[in-house]
Amino acid sequence: EAGVVQSPRYKIIEKKQPVAFWCNPISGHNTLYWYLQNLGQGPELLIRYENEEAVDDSQLPKDRFSAERLKGVDSTLKIQPAELGDSAVYLCASSYTSWGSKSSYEQYFGPGTRLTVT
């Protein structure tokens, strides 16, 4: 079974430029997460999707960050314009959530996209 796929793996851009990251979750997983991981730190949640609906975007800097999951499968995270402080690893994760029992199984992570803003 294929895992969570992310692309690109690495991206180097100049500040003020736009950038986009793509994620394809594990087949059948209805919940998708974007996390940000700074060097030497644990991941921090940016946004969570249940199918195509963004149900928790409280930690997403909405002035420059946006995300979408139009068909409830793959997702795109965009930054425009990028700032030096955005340099980090952007991780995508997915899980299956059973709404009837209001429980979610474990999250599985992709390899991440390492962004460097110069």
Partner: protein, 113 residues
Amino acid sequence: TQLLEQSPQFLSIQEGENLTVYCNSSSVFSSLQWYRQEPGEGPVLLVTVVTGGEVKKLKRLTFQFGDARKDSSLHITAAQTGDTGLYLCAGAQYGGGADGLTFGKGTHLIIQP
């Protein structure tokens, strides 16, 4: 805001030694997960503990969830160089993680030959 404090932050030991990593919080979690992350890769799930006082073993790794579900520990017996990596604990407050996980800052573990 729920915080997970991991200790130690860095640990370097010789192969064959034992070690314990701690994950503490003032908040109660419905479940707690341990991940291992290698450079350039995403975190890989090792175990999920759900019940207070639960102990799970994965070969030489022993995971324990505190009785009050606020803390956890990871014990490695006879560490091997392949155990080197960043160990992350992550807590879920509701339903096993649907709300997103709260991660600790991690323990950087180096096992020297």
